[in-house]
Amino acid sequence: MNLDNKEHEKSHLIGYGTYVLSWLVLLSLAILTVTVASIDLGNFTLFTALLIAAIKSALVIMIFMHIKYDEPIFKVFLTIALLVLLIVFVLMGFDIFYR
């Protein structure tokens, strides 16, 4: 119990400013993705939309969900989960794209 409390004190206190800043970035990215969508980029439309979504989610995970400040084990776990998701998409892609 004492040990846990110590871990607590050590844990990084994230400032209000950091959150507000990431929120502003997220808002501008949201506006950006809407604006870009109105321009016809052909095959790149989906790609840009997903790229922006990926950047936004990375921001949410890193800052809002504190992965950046957590112990390494959380990063390992997250990597495992994302890899699983990636593998499923790739293997399913072999069916969908080659049918």
């Binding site: 495992i80 989960a81 593998i87 293997l91 072999f94 969908i96 794209f97 080659y98 049918r99």
Partner: protein, 552 residues
């Protein structure tokens, strides 16, 4: 606090009197050991129901045409047999019973990380089971889709009661997820001092790997089930071909869970085998790290081979050969395990206790199951035997001969510890023998039938299949006789006086260093782990000391 602490250490978990009395002391208990026993009782009940349904199915196939039930009832029989055996017995199986009971003890913890969540997951199991079986008693009739709920029959055409069993399967999945995340967290957070990952018993490794699959695979079937329910209730276009959907996508999503589920079933069994063999050979396990990593790699590879259930479904040729190739890779870690088990026995001082007899039967039966699996994993041969009796023959060798036999082995191995009582060894061994004969008589003819072209799930058959069907049915009777002998023997044991010693087999993992049955908090003092789980040479030096601690 002090008086309670004393209480906790001197009373065993069976005798402990908590806030609740009678049955409530069990079904509201958050003690991992009691929850393990709860699972044992409920799983065994459903197992017996499943066996009864299987018996009826086999009896129906005794003669051509109608023997005892009509075709629709037969469809319901194989569906319910599948649902009960898969979702209610073999998937929760070893992790829920023995994982719950022994994982915390083997890593030197007082309980799992989230005891209340653990109880919740048993309750969800019971509620899910009620949903899954409720279709039996409601209008529309029992579900007849097969346990795989294939689209579009399940969403559009059948008039049977599909929704309730689907909801049941969803809830059972939730229960499985909660158990999985509990075990992963427990292993990461609650290991005793000195218990590094590579000092963990191999059963813990296996259950840990299984827990990961439970966490990352089960949600996929969860969403599949929700979508089927939505489609059936509201005509939402998702999989239904008349609405532009693609039924193959359903099969993908279903097997993304249900193939890894096969490894949820077998991996913990392999873990139990890795416990029993060193104990009865009095020898350090051969290739500890290889077995530990093979558990992990089976979990990983098992996740990426689901497509081999769909070779004839019409998916792309590219993915067919990729999945076939990946399937063969699973044989490598499985082979590593069998090799290491046999190597451990080599030059060991083997004692043929009942658990080891089960393990011997397992190695043989599982090998047959595994080799017939290669026939099904190879693209070309699968096309020939797909959806024939070869498939049930194969997976019953793996599931019954593999997992269920090891489930029984685990009961015989750990029953003295769980209940503090011994069973009659001679009758136990007779039961294994009878079951072994019955099982081979039941399932080997199925392999031949399938090879000859008898399709699975058919109500009737041509005259040339008659003799093998009769042989198989008679085999089912012998198997059941063996089961009855085993169950009677075990029940008699549980009702006998507490005479089991602390360590009847001479095992050296942590559970053998606590009294039988274990006290409420498992350990008087959390042990400090100094050497590996099967280091017999260290243990013999310290044996005297342990005896001393246990008596004080």
């Amino acid at each position: 606090m002090n008086s309670q602490a004393l209480d906790v250490n001197s009373v065993d978990y069976l005798e402990y009197k908590g806030k609740h009395k009678g049955i409530l002391a069990w079904i509201l208990s958050t003690d991992h050991k009691r929850i393990g026993i709860l699972y044992l009782v409920s799983l065994s009940t459903f197992f017996i129901v499943g066996v009864a349904l299987g018996f009826l199915m086999r009896f129906e196939m005794l003669s051509q045409g109608k023997t005892i039930v009509d075709a629709q009832t037969y469809n319901a029989l194989f569906t319910l047999h599948g649902i009960i055996m898969v979702f209610l017995f073999i998937i929760p199986g070893i992790p829920a019973v023995f994982g719950n009971f022994f994982l915390p003890i083997q890593i030197g913890a007082k309980d799992v990380a989230f005891p209340r969540l653990n109880l919740l997951s048993w309750w969800l199991y019971v509620i899910g089971a009620i949903f899954a079986l409720s279709s039996l008693f409601l209008s529309g009739g029992p579900i007849d889709t097969g346990w795989t709920f294939y689209i579009p029959y399940s969403s559009r055409y059948t008039s049977a009661n599909v929704i309730l069993p689907l909801i049941g399967a969803f809830i059972l999945g939730f229960s499985s997820i909660l158990t999985g995340l509990n075990f992963v967290t427990t292993v990461h957070r609650l290991r005793a001092p000195g218990m590094s990952f590579f000092k963990m018993p191999l059963f813990v490794w296996a259950v840990y790997s299984t827990a990961w699959i439970q966490v990352v695979a089960t949600p996929v079937v969860g969403i599949t089930i929700i979508l089927v329910i939505l489609e059936r209730l509201f005509y939402v276009g998702i999989f239904d071909p008349t609405l532009g959907g693609d039924p193959i996508l359903f099969q993908h999503l279903f097997w993304i869970y249900s193939h890894p589920a096969v490894y949820i079933m077998i991996l913990p069994a392999m873990g139990v085998v890795s416990e029993i063999i060193p104990t009865f050979a009095r020898r350090t396990i051969f290739g500890y790290k290889a077995i530990a990593f093979s558990s992990l790699s089976i979990a990983i590879i098992g996740y990426i081979v689901w497509g081999h259930h769909m070779f004839t479904s019409g998916m792309s040729d590219t993915s067919r050969w990729i999945f076939s190739f990946l399937t063969f890779i699973v044989a490598i870690p499985s082979g590593v395990k069998v090799f290491n088990w046999v190597a451990t026995l080599y030059k060991g001082s083997i004692e043929f206790g009942t658990p080891l007899v089960y393990v011997m039967a397992f190695i043989l039966l599982f090998s047959i199951g595994g080799l017939t699996g290669l026939v099904l994993g190879a693209l070309s041969t699968d096309v020939h035997v797909h959806d024939t009796y070869f498939v049930p023959g194969h997976f019953h060798y793996v599931m019954f001969g593999g997992t269920a036999f090891i489930f029984f082995a685990a009961i015989h191995y750990w029953l003295p510890k769980m209940f503090g009582r011994m069973y009659n060894e001679q009758w136990a061994k007779i039961a294994v023998g009878v079951m072994f004969i019955g099982l081979n008589m039941l399932y080997f003819p199925m392999l031949i039938l399938g090879y000859m072209g008898m399709p699975r799930r058919y109500y009737d058959y041509l005259p040339e299949y008659a003799s093998l069907h009769i042989l198989s049915t008679v085999g089912s009777w012998i198997l059941i006789i063996g089961l009855v002998v085993m169950i009677v023997n075990l029940i008699k044991a549980v009702r006998s006086p507490k005479t089991a010693p602390m360590n009847p087999w001479g095992g050296i993992t942590l559970e053998w260093q606590v009294p039988s049955p274990p006290p409420l908090e498992n350990f008087r003092v959390i042990p400090e782990v100094k050497h590996g789980p099967y280091d017999y040479h260290y243990y013999e030096e310290e044996e005297v000391k342990y005896e001393h601690i246990s008596k004080s």
